[in-house]
Amino acid sequence: MNRRRPGARRAKQQRAPWLVLPLAAAAVAYVAVPFVALLQRAPWSNLSDLVGRPVVIDALRLSMTTALAATGIALLLGIPLAWVLARTRFPGRSAARALVILPMVLPPVVGGAALLFAFGRRGLLGGPVYDSTGFLLPFSMWGVVAANTFVAMPFLVLTVESGLRAADPRYEDAAATLGASRSMIFRRITVPHAAPSIIAGAVLCWARALGEFGATVTFAGNLQGRTQTMPLAVFLALESDRDAAIALSLVLIAVSLAVLLPLRDRWLSV
């Protein structure tokens, strides 16, 4: 009755249920095939020439700068927001969370349009600002940053919020009994304990900002050197110069891998 084949327990854990393996393999193939196709069409012989063009350099520089700036702003605003969502209770908290997550599920073009009505020349806030100072957010590099932040910040907020929820709040109690003020507890205990989730959230946020297309093109336009990011340059080049589009795509893939791979084992649970 109680007999069990040696190793039966281990084998049971390892053997995948019927159909799971083929479907998993199909999933991998579905992601891999487009990359293979891209690599197979790559103009390897004059790649360095294509990558060195001003339009590519401009777009790469702009993408890196704006994605980093957006991540910085998201960190500055997003960590406090994540703390409020994770640690406090107030009426309308779930509504606030839903609102913050909305850009994740919203089509980015709609987000870009909404940004225009808020910060455009005749926008809700942008109008008065433009009338009094002449400053205009859309169609500038800061417009790209604004669009990126709008779309990418939720990734950071959600990741950090779950990190804060998982952290043991008793460490904060211990710090309080040692005389630490609320701001000292936040700086020395809460943030360091949430560091893995903050880094993971920042990477996700940065990756999302780097790939941003819809909100950027709607709100900031497509001006080379000012608002034309890598994804916009790829899209434009596909119409006119396929080789350049592929070269741009390869650069974008290389940059993403260069950032994600070193962080993967340590900070991202993937």
Partner: protein
Amino acid sequence: MLHAAIEVHLGAFRLDIDVDVDDGEVVALLGPNGAGKTTALRVIAGLQPLDNGRIELDGSVLDDPAADVFVPTAERPIGVVFQDYLLFPRLSALDNVAFGLRARGHGKASARNRARDWLERFALAEHAYAKPRTLSGGQAQRVALARALATDPRLLLLDEPLAALDAGTRLQVRTELRRHLATFHGARLLVTHDPVDALVLADRLVIVEQGHITQTGTPAAVTARPASRYIAQLVGINLLHGTATGEHTVRLDTGAELTVADPLPGLDIALAIRPQAIALHRQTPDGSPRNAWAATVTDLEADRDRVRVSLAGPVPATAEITPAAVADLDLAPGISVWATVKAVDLTAYER
């Protein structure tokens, strides 16, 4: 000194206890899990507000809802050793101890210097730069104690200070903790569910069941006259006093000698024996158990599926055996028996 009149409501649970701790006194809140002991500590530390009552330390009021007084945790002169110690995992032992000094305004260098003194006092100097996860249970406990004492509190709270340790190190750490507690002169309040911890560490026991105090008194008084069946079970431990006559032998005040497995921690010794550890026989026991004595049964008390047998003789003690064993041995008051206990079942500590 601490005066705490605590009333807290947590859903259907109501904690309602009064605890006073004098300077220099160690009081143990003893009771089963869920009795409200940890909540009492949290309330005293200010991590949870009172619903009713008043907490006063050295004459200043820390919490009094009726008078609308509440001193935040960070401003209370109270050191806490938490269950599992809660050492900050990213900081070294030294920076853990320095944390409270930094929080109270010391510069980095001065905080570290004082923290180093504390580590030395607790024989931890060589572990100053160790991260908490590399410390043993006993070392982590000493770091936690040093961290709690470094800010010079007037009250020390300890929440299950020995629960995180395995049985092997527990005995030794308990003795060390007792010694270290003695160096702190303020009031000390510890929470435990383990009667032996309470008996060894505390001057006075406060027994809490389901949010209420059911008995208070010195360990000797509570063990001698447990106020309820539950307390009898909880602290129905034999406490004997004697003097060390060798590294492993104790001469009781009655003249009997008992052998202990671990080296004795001092000269003036208290021995704790769980009643379940005492075996009874009608004949002279076979072999040569080192702790055997002749005793007279003075009383039998049935307690659910157990019978507590009171024994008179050179080792006055209570044994706890099954009703079947009572029938087997044909026990009744006045009957002579042999009692034995293994050396490993004796817990010795310095009085």
